[in-house]
């Protein structure tokens, strides 16, 4: 919580709104919660890790700076899986977050704190990051809207990296329009991020255009994934039917390399993370083990104590995948699979304007249910990580319930088709709430 700052920001926003000189925008004075991986100047930012306890960035992430400029009120930082690695927020180095719909269940993850905060009404909106589904899956499990934009849409500057080629920042909101407003505010070229795109961003003009005349792809492979709960499938099927009734044309599409996505993802993401997390060595910031006698010992003890089990697992996996003699068999092959998956999406989008599916194969599961089974945990992301590997935009929005728990409908769009994704989501939202 950053209460004193939030009060000062709220008062500044009041003055700005009272002036009425046009300096105020739609986000002026609106309070938000920030996932603890986005650098906020002067505010402890830990990435959910003990290794960064006490670390206060001397600068703002670009997305934070843009919201600050827009007059946002920052309420504080939200819990997440350590370095955004996880699908339940149980991997936090501090404590697990619970699902507001049922406190015995997880909120999803890794951005579970922001999703739960918005679902519980603690913040009007939240920011999260999505590397394999870390915005969309918790949005689905908490019954809110969550969007991962096209890779390159939002600057990653100041986002504590998990996997650089997959990470994107996006919003959690209660409505699709709010998601569009927040995303519009944080998008666009940033000279500090060489992977951010110099492309026009217009997410609002076509938002209410509906789905009439749009072709929506239903991927054959996505309804057959392992562990798909019947209740989830039923809710999603109903939602897709509603879209058809609203004027969309449904087409079956194929994403033939879907089965290989998980394996490729769990090579590429750990490989990048093994390098990205090397900077946490106890030398410059965050925690350091003071009992170490040698340099090597400082590294080993600081990292062993500072990182949790899942982070250590992925660092080791990634280190292995990049090692001489294994690089070609793992990293290089995974990159080839990634190219094939991107081609799958590109081909599918020749036949449709957007793809609709479930976000997560399951509803929120009980705390502890999957902590000892990493593979079961990884399967949570099987429907979302393809979007990250291909770099395409995706949103999750509530589409009813199963076993009394929220189900998420995922809408994926072609690269730079963020506006289309939002338009389809808004169309569903309109018929759902009608």
């Amino acid at each position: 919580m950053t209460e004193p700052e939030a009060r000062a920001q709220a008062e500044a926003a009041d003055r700005r709104l009272a002036n009425g000189n046009g300096a105020a925008g739609p986000l002026t004075g609106i309070p938000l919660a920030v996932k603890d991986v986005l650098s906020v100047r002067g505010v402890e930012t830990t990435a959910g890790s003990q290794i960064l306890r006490g670390y206060r960035p001397p600068f703002d992430a670009t997305a934070i700076a843009r919201l600050r400029e827009a007059g946002a009120v920052f309420l504080g930082m939200t819990n997440c899986d350590e370095f955004a690695m996880g699908s339940s927020t149980e991997n936090s180095g501090f404590f697990p977050t619970r699902n507001p719909h049922d406190p015995t269940r997880v909120p999803g993850g890794s951005s579970g704190g922001s999703a739960a905060a918005v679902a519980a009404g603690e913040a009007v909106y939240g920011l999260g990051t999505d590397t394999g589904g870390s915005i969309r899956q918790p949005a689905a499990l908490c019954g809110v809207v969550g969007m991962k934009p096209t890779y390159g849409r939002v600057s990653r500057y100041g986002l504590i990296a998990f996997a650089s080629s997959l990470d994107q920042i996006g919003p959690f909101t209660t409505t699709v329009r709010d998601a569009a407003l927040v995303l519009q505010a944080i998008s666009g070229l940033d000279p500090r991020d060489a992977t951010s795109a110099d492309r026009p961003v217009d997410l609002l003009t076509d938002l209410e255009q509906g789905v009439e005349g749009l072709r929506l792809g239903v991927p054959r492979e996505y309804s057959q994934v392992e562990g798909m709960e019947p209740g989830v499938k039923a809710a999603v099927d109903r939602a897709v039917l509603r879209l058809e009734q609203a004027g969309a044309e449904l087409v079956e599409v194929s994403l033939p390399h879907t089965d290989y996505g998980l394996a490729a993802y769990y090579i590429i993401a750990p490989a990048e993370c093994s390098s990205n997390l090397a900077r946490f060595d106890g030398v410059k910031y965050g925690a350091r083990d003071e009992g170490a006698q040698t340099l090597l010992d400082t590294y080993l003890r600081t990292r062993r104590q500072g990182f949790g089990t899942e982070v250590r697992r992925r660092v080791m996996l990634g280190t292995y995948a990049l090692s001489a003699g294994y690089f070609d068999a793992y990293y290089l092959k995974a990159q080839k699979v990634r190219t094939l998956i991107a081609q799958d999406f590109a081909r599918a989008f020749e036949h449709c304007d957007a793809i609709v599916s479930a976000t997560s194969p399951t509803v929120a599961f009980p705390l502890g249910a999957k902590v000892d089974d990493p593979l079961a945990m990884y399967l949570n992301d099987v429907l979302t990580l393809g979007g990250n590997l291909a770099g395409v935009p995706g949103i999750s929005l509530p589409c009813g319930t199963s076993e009394g728990l929220p189900v998420g409908l995922q809408v994926l769009g072609p690269q730079w088709g963020d506006a289309t994704v939002l338009r389809v989501a808004r169309a569903y939202e309109a018929v759902r709430d009608a």
Binding site: V37, L38, S39, T45, A47, L52, Y55, P57, P58, F59, A61, R156, Y157, G158, L159, I160, A161, A163, S164, S165, P191, R192, D193, A194, T195, A271, E272, S274, S275, L277, A278, R279, F280, D281, V283, K284, Y285, L295, Y299, T319, L322, S323, A324, F327, Y331
Partner: protein, 466 residues
């Protein structure tokens, strides 16, 4: 080189690029005078969430170097991460180039030997450690200074084409001259802007296979480079002639002990887990950009050397000295253009590398040549002209420095010195011709150093020999 042996040497030279800002952030690249950890920002400190942005000027300087060396410039290239842990490497990886360097191939001709360039690539420099004590393993603590972290660095790697310590040094000198001529690097070894590593092995003369090599580091001057390579060749030959085997290792050069010493034995190859830097998109170097850079290339040292010999009739040695950096060669040409005779201009410039405008230097050379002042006075005037930024002729006039060439005036002094120095005169006449030096010294003393040495010597000799 000892009889029956041949040395095989390849060089890896790191040169800091002469850019205003660092490789991936906008910090100043001028860090030498800065207080520790003051020329830094969140990016070059490797703080969480920071991202690199490529310095376009650094890319241009590497391309320029490649063009000067006759390399092939890659149209599509990229950066890679080289992963290893060390406190001077704040991110835990160095952004470098692995399998697609900016430049491949090329050559430098050094004294009749063609040295093939393997590759030139772009990377970032690391920070610096200051150990409490001499060495890391005995230090109680170490301090980290990250001012140098992220300074643009280029690595130039050669094939194993060099055959001795002279060639290794000459190659480095020639490369420095090129880097300076094109403005790619200030390339001052003492300031760490140019760092040479030599891979040295020896083999029986005529052998087809290469011997086991060692990698020499810690080399801070051309002289040290020469000594280190020379010492290492001798050491390896000693080891082999004694029936031993050379161990593949990194060896440091100890300036104090004038010998190489084992730093680290390579039991297995380092695994840097290179992979493409995901924070940077691939780098495209368009042919149009390359042509634009080619157009900015100045005359290269080798061409300029030949032209100076041809146009001014100076020796190849002088031309070599003058073209070691572009500024020196520029001063020479401008001084000659201002009217100074080429040979004399070369002598003055090679000896003292004066920081003076060409017109002033030409004037000074003229004052010495026409006998207004002597050479010693010339150096004094030059010093003052540099310090005060004033014209040599004005200094000579104001200080009344013009030398005494008047024969009748000097004759009086010479007669007096001879009368007062019977011992020296006797010595001279007894055949100890060097005794004239003592007499000459007295003449100089009596004139406050202003005696024209040629006139004074002639007068002394005519009196002593008569």
């Amino acid at each position: 080189m000892r009889e029956g042996w041949e040395a095989v040497i390849g060089m890896e030279i790191h040169a800091q690029l002469a850019t205003r800002s660092k490789m991936f952030c906008d910090c100043s690249a001028e860090y030498l005078a800065a207080a520790p950890n003051s020329s830094v920002c969140e990016v070059c400190l490797g703080m969480p969430g920071t991202l690199p942005v490529v310095n376009r000027r650094a890319v241009e300087l590497v391309v320029k170097t490649g063009l000067a060396l006759g390399s092939e410039i890659a149209e599509h290239t990229k950066f890679d991460r080289k992963n290893y842990f060390y406190p001077d490497l704040p991110k835990g990886y160095q952004i470098s180039q692995y399998d697609l360097p900016l430049c491949r191939g090329g050559r430098i001709d050094v004294g009749g030997r063609t040295v093939r360039i393997t590759r030139v690539h772009l990377e970032e420099d690391t920070g610096k450690l200051v150990h409490a004590g001499d060495a890391l393993h005995t230090a109680a603590s170490s301090l980290v200074d990250l001012n140098r972290s992220g300074v643009p660095l280029m690595e130039i790697v050669t094939e194993p084409d060099l055959r001795g310590a002279d060639e290794a040094r000459d190659y480095a000198v020639a490369l420095r001259a090129i880097l300076r001529a094109i403005g790619a690097s200030e390339a001052d070894m003492e300031r760490g802007q140019l760092r040479a590593e030599a891979n040295v092995s020896v083999r029986r003369a005529g052998a087809a296979t290469l011997g086991v090599k060692t990698e020499l580091k810690n080399i801070n001057s051309f002289r040290a480079l020469h000594r280190a390579v020379e010492h290492e060749i001798d050491r390896q030959v000693d080891v082999l002639e004694g029936g031993g085997a050379v161990v593949q290792e990194t060896r440091g050069w100890s300036e104090a002990e004038q010998r190489t010493f084992s730093q680290r034995v390579k039991e297995y190859a380092d695994d840097y887990r290179y992979f493409p830097e995901p924070d940077l998109p691939p780098l495209e170097v368009t042919p149009a950009w390359v042509e634009q850079i080619r157009d900015s290339l100045p005359e290269l040292p080798e061409a300029r050397r030949a032209r100076l010999v041809e146009a001014h009739g100076i020796s190849g040695y002088d031309a070599q000295q003058l073209t070691e950096d572009a500024a020196t060669a520029d001063l020479f040409e401008a001084t000659v253009a201002a009217g100074a005779p080429a040979k004399q201009a070369a002598n003055w410039i090679i000896g003292s590398r004066p920081a003076i405008d060409p017109a002033g230097l030409a004037q000074l050379i003229g004052l010495v040549a026409d006998g207004t002042i002597n050479r010693d006075q010339g150096f004094e005037v030059l010093e003052e002209a540099q310090a005060a930024g004033r014209a040599p002729a004005d200094i000579v006039r104001e200080r009344g420095l013009s030398q005494v060439s008047d024969e009748s005036e000097l004759a009086k002094i010479v007669d007096r010195v001879i009368a007062e120095s019977p011992q020296a005169v006797a010595d001279y006449r007894a055949g100890k011709k060097q005794a004239i030096g003592a007499l000459m010294g007295k003449v100089k003393g009596a004139t406050g150093g202003r005696a024209d040495p040629r006139v004074a010597t002639r007068l002394l000799q005519s009196r002593l020999d008569s």
